[in-house]
Symmetry: C2
Subunit: 169 residues, 2 copies
Amino acid sequence: MNFNIRPATKVDCKDIIRMIMELAVYEKMPDQVKISCEELERDGFNQNPFFGCLVAEVPEEDGFATVGYALYFYIYSTWKGRSMHLEDLYVMPQFRGFGIGKSLLSAVAQVAKEKQCARLQLSVLDWNTPSRDFYAAKGAQDLTVKEGWHLIRFDGQSLDNLANETQKN
Amino acid sequence: MNFNIRPATKVDCKDIIRMIMELAVYEKMPDQVKISCEELERDGFNQNPFFGCLVAEVPEEDGFATVGYALYFYIYSTWKGRSMHLEDLYVMPQFRGFGIGKSLLSAVAQVAKEKQCARLQLSVLDWNTPSRDFYAAKGAQDLTVKEGWHLIRFDGQSLDNLANETQKN
């Protein structure tokens, strides 16, 4: 199958939002998606964007259809310096098995190397065996299994409470 | 004990590097620290810094001693938008038990709220019970336990291999 990987532009946000929701349904947490197309346009396509995004497209009768995306941003390791986090990697089910996901992942890794990132990290759900096997086959380490890292989150009331604590000095 | 929390400046980098190493020793992975004081100065204290940092200081005879730090950066959730990651939170052992860690954490949460972050996330090692209990007592959720998220990493050869894969289009 012919396909093309390219950086997303603002006009892709409608397709990206659609696929963010499809991925959340697959991950069994569609209720958690609160983001809007406007926020995505504002946050990713300005002079200091909060994230970068690549899209995969396939030719159709009168142009191209967007069938996958990879959304990433820069993080920082106090051990290794600048690194990259891959927030989402998604290919629509009917377009899987053609190497589109692999190409998206490789293209993200190329950006990471160009930007001198020492690491490319991501999170995956334990029951998502196809994804875990895919990343393992590519040489990734599962740091939760290997070193025992847990992901911890404050949000909503717990984040408000933290911010409102009186400093004891 | 009197202490003060303030944003770090470039001249704090020597103290921060010392404490990064102390934290890595505590986490039993001191060999992984490859960062230098120069890199930290360059990456954190320019017009578009890769991270922010707060330090905790206590008065001593002729000034202040830096005894803790919190290093954070912005991340992006495709479900919730702008968020914050707390990379390191550290207080020197002899200064623990006075609320310095809590104040650093609260100050980071205040920055997160000011910057409209929906979430504050961090990673912790499974055997680090004091830290896990500390965050749980503050209302954090352990997403690895609750939802099954694993942290995955490509680096070194596996990242090079990914970037060098030929795109199949």
